[in-house]
Amino acid sequence: MSVLSDSLIEDLKKQGVLVTSIEALYNWGRSNSVWPLQFGLACCAIEMIAASMARFDLSRFGSEVFRPSPRQADLMIVSGTVTKKMAPQVVRLFNQMPDPKYVIAMGACAISGGPFKQGYNVLKGVDRFIPVDIYIPGCPPRPEALLHGLMELQKKIRAQKLTGENRAKYFDAAQPGEYPIPSFGEHDLEPSKNAALWSPAQVARKD
Protein backbone atom coordinates (compact mmCIF):
# COMPACT_ATOMS: atom_id res chain seq x y z
CA MET A 1 0.00 0.00 0.00
CA SER A 2 2.12 2.80 1.32
CA VAL A 3 5.44 3.62 -0.30
CA LEU A 4 6.91 4.68 3.02
CA SER A 5 6.99 2.35 5.96
CA ASP A 6 5.42 3.41 9.25
CA SER A 7 8.78 3.58 10.99
CA LEU A 8 10.16 5.85 8.27
CA ILE A 9 7.14 8.15 8.63
CA GLU A 10 7.77 8.28 12.38
CA ASP A 11 11.46 9.07 11.81
CA LEU A 12 10.58 11.82 9.37
CA LYS A 13 8.11 13.27 11.85
CA LYS A 14 10.87 13.47 14.48
CA GLN A 15 12.95 15.44 11.99
CA GLY A 16 10.09 17.84 11.42
CA VAL A 17 8.94 16.42 8.07
CA LEU A 18 5.26 15.59 7.96
CA VAL A 19 4.16 13.16 5.28
CA THR A 20 0.61 11.99 4.88
CA SER A 21 -1.71 10.25 2.50
CA ILE A 22 -5.04 11.47 1.17
CA GLU A 23 -6.69 8.75 3.22
CA ALA A 24 -5.06 9.86 6.46
CA LEU A 25 -5.80 13.51 5.70
CA TYR A 26 -9.43 12.77 4.87
CA ASN A 27 -9.90 10.63 7.96
CA TRP A 28 -8.20 13.26 10.10
CA GLY A 29 -10.58 15.88 8.76
CA ARG A 30 -13.78 13.97 9.14
CA SER A 31 -12.85 12.50 12.52
CA ASN A 32 -12.47 16.03 13.81
CA SER A 33 -15.75 17.29 12.38
CA VAL A 34 -18.24 14.67 13.49
CA TRP A 35 -21.52 16.55 13.58
CA PRO A 36 -24.16 14.82 15.69
CA LEU A 37 -27.84 14.79 14.94
CA GLN A 38 -29.71 16.95 17.40
CA PHE A 39 -32.23 14.73 19.04
CA GLY A 40 -32.63 13.24 22.49
CA LEU A 41 -34.91 10.47 23.58
CA ALA A 42 -34.71 10.44 27.37
CA CYS A 43 -32.59 11.39 30.36
CA CYS A 44 -29.31 10.51 28.61
CA ALA A 45 -30.04 13.49 26.37
CA ILE A 46 -29.55 15.75 29.41
CA GLU A 47 -26.05 14.35 29.82
CA MET A 48 -25.50 14.81 26.10
CA ILE A 49 -26.54 18.45 26.42
CA ALA A 50 -24.22 18.84 29.39
CA ALA A 51 -21.39 17.35 27.35
CA SER A 52 -21.95 19.93 24.64
CA MET A 53 -21.94 22.86 27.08
CA ALA A 54 -18.99 24.85 28.38
CA ARG A 55 -17.91 22.65 31.28
CA PHE A 56 -17.34 19.47 29.30
CA ASP A 57 -17.14 21.15 25.91
CA LEU A 58 -17.72 18.57 23.19
CA SER A 59 -16.54 21.20 20.71
CA ARG A 60 -12.94 20.45 21.63
CA PHE A 61 -13.37 17.43 19.39
CA GLY A 62 -14.99 19.35 16.55
CA SER A 63 -18.36 17.89 17.35
CA GLU A 64 -20.29 20.81 18.77
CA VAL A 65 -22.43 21.54 15.74
CA PHE A 66 -25.57 19.60 16.57
CA ARG A 67 -27.51 19.51 13.33
CA PRO A 68 -31.28 19.84 13.29
CA SER A 69 -31.49 18.01 9.97
CA PRO A 70 -30.35 14.45 9.30
CA ARG A 71 -29.06 15.58 5.90
CA GLN A 72 -26.23 17.45 7.57
CA ALA A 73 -25.37 15.03 10.36
CA ASP A 74 -22.60 12.42 10.54
CA LEU A 75 -23.32 10.90 13.92
CA MET A 76 -26.50 9.70 15.57
CA ILE A 77 -26.26 9.68 19.35
CA VAL A 78 -29.13 7.47 20.45
CA SER A 79 -29.44 9.01 23.89
CA GLY A 80 -32.16 7.25 25.78
CA THR A 81 -34.90 4.68 25.74
CA VAL A 82 -36.06 3.76 22.27
CA THR A 83 -39.70 2.87 22.52
CA LYS A 84 -41.31 0.74 19.88
CA LYS A 85 -43.40 3.73 18.94
CA MET A 86 -40.23 5.74 18.28
CA ALA A 87 -38.12 3.03 16.64
CA PRO A 88 -39.39 3.53 13.05
CA GLN A 89 -38.66 7.23 13.28
CA VAL A 90 -35.14 6.60 14.59
CA VAL A 91 -34.40 4.17 11.77
CA ARG A 92 -35.85 6.55 9.19
CA LEU A 93 -33.74 9.43 10.49
CA PHE A 94 -30.70 7.19 10.34
CA ASN A 95 -31.56 6.27 6.75
CA GLN A 96 -31.81 9.94 5.84
CA MET A 97 -28.31 10.72 7.08
CA PRO A 98 -25.70 10.81 4.32
CA ASP A 99 -22.89 8.26 4.35
CA PRO A 100 -20.46 7.91 6.06
CA LYS A 101 -22.53 7.91 9.23
CA TYR A 102 -22.01 6.55 12.69
CA VAL A 103 -24.15 5.58 15.63
CA ILE A 104 -23.37 5.89 19.33
CA ALA A 105 -25.70 3.92 21.59
CA MET A 106 -25.57 6.04 24.73
CA GLY A 107 -26.72 4.48 27.97
CA ALA A 108 -28.19 1.20 29.07
CA CYS A 109 -31.56 1.83 27.40
CA ALA A 110 -30.16 2.36 23.93
CA ILE A 111 -27.88 -0.64 24.35
CA SER A 112 -30.35 -3.15 25.72
CA GLY A 113 -33.52 -1.49 26.97
CA GLY A 114 -31.89 -0.93 30.35
CA PRO A 115 -34.14 -0.75 33.39
CA PHE A 116 -37.18 -0.71 31.10
CA LYS A 117 -36.15 -3.87 29.26
CA GLN A 118 -39.18 -5.79 30.54
CA GLY A 119 -41.58 -3.14 29.31
CA TYR A 120 -43.89 -4.20 26.51
CA ASN A 121 -43.23 -0.99 24.61
CA VAL A 122 -39.45 -0.77 24.88
CA LEU A 123 -37.07 -1.75 22.12
CA LYS A 124 -34.44 -4.00 23.66
CA GLY A 125 -31.45 -2.34 22.07
CA VAL A 126 -31.26 -0.01 19.11
CA ASP A 127 -28.70 -2.33 17.49
CA ARG A 128 -31.58 -4.55 16.45
CA PHE A 129 -32.32 -2.10 13.64
CA ILE A 130 -29.31 0.11 12.99
CA PRO A 131 -25.59 -0.69 13.12
CA VAL A 132 -24.08 0.71 16.32
CA ASP A 133 -20.43 1.73 16.29
CA ILE A 134 -19.84 2.70 19.91
CA TYR A 135 -21.67 1.49 23.00
CA ILE A 136 -21.45 3.73 26.08
CA PRO A 137 -22.67 1.93 29.20
CA GLY A 138 -24.13 3.84 32.13
CA CYS A 139 -27.50 4.90 33.41
CA PRO A 140 -27.05 7.62 32.36
CA PRO A 141 -23.38 7.81 31.34
CA ARG A 142 -21.61 10.89 32.59
CA PRO A 143 -20.55 13.50 30.02
CA GLU A 144 -16.95 12.28 30.38
CA ALA A 145 -18.14 8.87 29.19
CA LEU A 146 -19.70 10.47 26.11
CA LEU A 147 -16.43 12.30 25.45
CA HIS A 148 -14.58 9.00 25.78
CA GLY A 149 -17.05 7.39 23.41
CA LEU A 150 -16.53 10.16 20.89
CA MET A 151 -12.74 9.77 21.15
CA GLU A 152 -13.08 6.04 20.55
CA LEU A 153 -15.25 6.80 17.52
CA GLN A 154 -12.58 9.18 16.24
CA LYS A 155 -9.99 6.41 16.59
CA LYS A 156 -12.30 4.12 14.66
CA ILE A 157 -12.81 6.69 11.89
CA ARG A 158 -9.07 7.34 11.58
CA ALA A 159 -8.43 3.63 11.06
CA GLN A 160 -10.96 3.26 8.25
CA LYS A 161 -9.86 2.47 4.72
CA LEU A 162 -11.28 4.33 1.73
CA THR A 163 -10.33 1.81 -0.96
CA GLY A 164 -9.38 -1.82 -1.23
CA GLU A 165 -10.95 -5.04 -0.03
CA ASN A 166 -11.50 -4.14 3.62
CA ARG A 167 -12.68 -0.60 3.03
CA ALA A 168 -15.38 0.84 5.23
CA LYS A 169 -18.90 -0.15 4.27
CA TYR A 170 -19.78 3.43 3.35
CA PHE A 171 -17.33 3.29 0.46
CA ASP A 172 -18.59 -0.06 -0.76
CA ALA A 173 -21.36 0.26 -3.32
CA ALA A 174 -22.52 -3.28 -2.55
CA GLN A 175 -23.28 -2.50 1.10
CA PRO A 176 -26.75 -1.18 1.88
CA GLY A 177 -27.22 2.54 2.42
CA GLU A 178 -30.63 2.19 4.03
CA TYR A 179 -31.89 -0.20 6.63
CA PRO A 180 -35.42 -1.62 6.65
CA ILE A 181 -37.85 0.51 8.65
CA PRO A 182 -40.07 -1.51 10.97
CA SER A 183 -43.80 -0.89 11.03
CA PHE A 184 -46.33 -1.30 13.81
CA GLY A 185 -47.63 -4.83 13.88
CA GLU A 186 -50.39 -6.36 15.94
CA HIS A 187 -48.19 -7.18 18.93
CA ASP A 188 -44.70 -6.00 18.08
CA LEU A 189 -42.73 -4.20 15.44
CA GLU A 190 -42.77 -5.95 12.07
CA PRO A 191 -40.09 -7.16 11.65
CA SER A 192 -39.02 -7.24 15.29
CA LYS A 193 -35.33 -7.08 14.32
CA ASN A 194 -33.04 -6.68 11.35
CA ALA A 195 -31.77 -10.23 10.96
CA ALA A 196 -28.72 -9.06 9.01
CA LEU A 197 -27.60 -6.92 11.94
CA TRP A 198 -28.63 -8.70 15.08
CA SER A 199 -29.34 -12.18 16.25
CA PRO A 200 -30.04 -13.38 19.78
CA ALA A 201 -27.06 -14.63 21.73
CA GLN A 202 -26.75 -18.40 21.60
CA VAL A 203 -26.07 -20.17 24.84
CA ALA A 204 -23.63 -23.00 24.26
CA ARG A 205 -24.43 -25.86 26.60
CA LYS A 206 -22.01 -28.61 27.41
CA ASP A 207 -23.52 -32.05 27.00
Binding site: P88, Q89, L93, Q96, P98, A173, G177, E178
Partner: protein, 123 residues
Protein backbone atom coordinates in the same frame (compact mmCIF):
# COMPACT_ATOMS: atom_id res chain seq x y z
CA UNK B 1 -1.38 56.78 -9.87
CA UNK B 2 -2.93 53.43 -10.58
CA UNK B 3 -3.33 52.99 -14.34
CA UNK B 4 -5.90 50.19 -13.83
CA UNK B 5 -8.35 51.43 -11.21
CA UNK B 6 -10.71 48.48 -11.69
CA UNK B 7 -8.01 45.80 -11.51
CA UNK B 8 -8.76 45.15 -7.85
CA UNK B 9 -12.40 44.50 -8.74
CA UNK B 10 -11.36 41.97 -11.37
CA UNK B 11 -9.09 40.21 -8.87
CA UNK B 12 -11.93 40.25 -6.36
CA UNK B 13 -14.37 38.74 -8.88
CA UNK B 14 -11.91 35.99 -9.83
CA UNK B 15 -11.28 35.09 -6.19
CA UNK B 16 -15.02 35.17 -5.49
CA UNK B 17 -15.61 32.71 -8.32
CA UNK B 18 -12.68 30.39 -7.60
CA UNK B 19 -13.17 30.21 -3.83
CA UNK B 20 -16.55 28.42 -3.94
CA UNK B 21 -15.79 26.51 -7.14
CA UNK B 22 -12.71 24.71 -5.84
CA UNK B 23 -14.49 22.92 -2.95
CA UNK B 24 -17.39 22.06 -5.25
CA UNK B 25 -15.05 20.56 -7.84
CA UNK B 26 -13.13 18.72 -5.12
CA UNK B 27 -16.40 17.32 -3.76
CA UNK B 28 -17.42 16.21 -7.23
CA UNK B 29 -14.03 14.54 -7.78
CA UNK B 30 -14.33 12.89 -4.39
CA UNK B 31 -17.76 11.54 -5.28
CA UNK B 32 -16.40 10.34 -8.62
CA UNK B 33 -13.48 8.37 -7.18
CA UNK B 34 -14.56 7.25 -3.72
CA UNK B 35 -18.12 7.78 -2.59
CA UNK B 36 -20.75 5.49 -4.06
CA UNK B 37 -24.21 7.01 -4.25
CA UNK B 38 -26.78 5.13 -2.23
CA UNK B 39 -30.10 6.81 -2.76
CA UNK B 40 -33.20 5.23 -1.34
CA UNK B 41 -36.80 5.83 -0.58
CA UNK B 42 -36.41 7.45 2.82
CA UNK B 43 -33.15 9.18 1.88
CA UNK B 44 -34.84 10.90 -1.03
CA UNK B 45 -37.91 11.81 1.00
CA UNK B 46 -38.70 15.49 1.25
CA UNK B 47 -39.75 15.52 4.85
CA UNK B 48 -36.87 15.00 7.26
CA UNK B 49 -38.55 14.73 10.63
CA UNK B 50 -38.54 10.97 10.90
CA UNK B 51 -42.22 10.75 10.07
CA UNK B 52 -43.80 9.88 6.77
CA UNK B 53 -45.58 12.84 5.27
CA UNK B 54 -49.28 12.40 4.86
CA UNK B 55 -51.55 13.88 2.24
CA UNK B 56 -50.81 16.55 -0.32
CA UNK B 57 -48.72 19.59 0.51
CA UNK B 58 -50.83 21.73 -1.85
CA UNK B 59 -53.90 22.27 0.28
CA UNK B 60 -56.32 25.18 0.25
CA UNK B 61 -55.65 27.51 3.12
CA UNK B 62 -58.61 29.31 4.65
CA UNK B 63 -58.09 32.95 3.61
CA UNK B 64 -60.91 33.91 5.96
CA UNK B 65 -58.45 33.91 8.82
CA UNK B 66 -56.49 36.72 7.19
CA UNK B 67 -59.47 39.11 7.16
CA UNK B 68 -60.36 38.10 10.67
CA UNK B 69 -56.81 38.88 11.83
CA UNK B 70 -56.81 42.26 10.07
CA UNK B 71 -60.10 43.29 11.71
CA UNK B 72 -58.81 42.14 15.05
CA UNK B 73 -55.58 44.09 14.60
CA UNK B 74 -57.41 47.33 13.81
CA UNK B 75 -59.55 47.13 16.93
CA UNK B 76 -56.55 46.06 18.97
CA UNK B 77 -54.86 49.30 17.94
CA UNK B 78 -58.05 51.22 18.60
CA UNK B 79 -58.05 50.16 22.27
CA UNK B 80 -54.54 51.59 22.61
CA UNK B 81 -55.89 54.96 21.38
CA UNK B 82 -59.11 54.75 23.38
CA UNK B 83 -57.40 54.26 26.72
CA UNK B 84 -55.49 57.61 26.80
CA UNK B 85 -58.57 59.21 25.22
CA UNK B 86 -60.71 57.98 28.12
CA UNK B 87 -58.25 59.07 30.83
CA UNK B 88 -57.80 62.57 29.35
CA UNK B 89 -61.42 62.94 28.31
CA UNK B 90 -62.38 65.83 30.62
CA UNK B 91 -59.35 67.98 29.77
CA UNK B 92 -59.67 67.72 26.00
CA UNK B 93 -60.72 70.52 23.71
CA UNK B 94 -63.80 70.14 21.52
CA UNK B 95 -61.66 69.76 18.39
CA UNK B 96 -59.70 66.86 19.91
CA UNK B 97 -62.91 65.07 20.95
CA UNK B 98 -64.33 65.56 17.45
CA UNK B 99 -61.14 64.20 15.87
CA UNK B 100 -61.27 61.17 18.12
CA UNK B 101 -64.95 60.63 17.33
CA UNK B 102 -64.16 60.74 13.59
CA UNK B 103 -61.42 58.16 14.16
CA UNK B 104 -63.82 55.88 16.04
CA UNK B 105 -66.49 56.47 13.40
CA UNK B 106 -64.10 55.38 10.65
CA UNK B 107 -63.36 52.16 12.50
CA UNK B 108 -67.04 51.53 13.23
CA UNK B 109 -67.72 52.03 9.56
CA UNK B 110 -65.14 49.35 8.79
CA UNK B 111 -66.70 47.06 11.36
CA UNK B 112 -70.15 47.56 9.83
CA UNK B 113 -68.72 46.81 6.41
CA UNK B 114 -67.01 43.61 7.64
CA UNK B 115 -70.18 42.61 9.48
CA UNK B 116 -72.44 43.18 6.48
CA UNK B 117 -70.05 41.16 4.29
CA UNK B 118 -70.31 38.30 6.78
CA UNK B 119 -66.61 38.28 7.61
CA UNK B 120 -67.26 38.00 11.33
CA UNK B 121 -68.89 34.63 10.95
CA UNK B 122 -66.66 31.62 10.97
CA UNK B 123 -68.22 28.96 8.81
Amino acid sequence: MNSQPYLSLVVFAVVAAVFPLVPLILARLWFYFFAPLKPGESKNATYECGLVSEGDARIQFKAHYYLYAIVFLIFDVETIFLLPFATAFLNLSVGAVLAMLVFVLLLVEGLVWAWSKGYLEWD
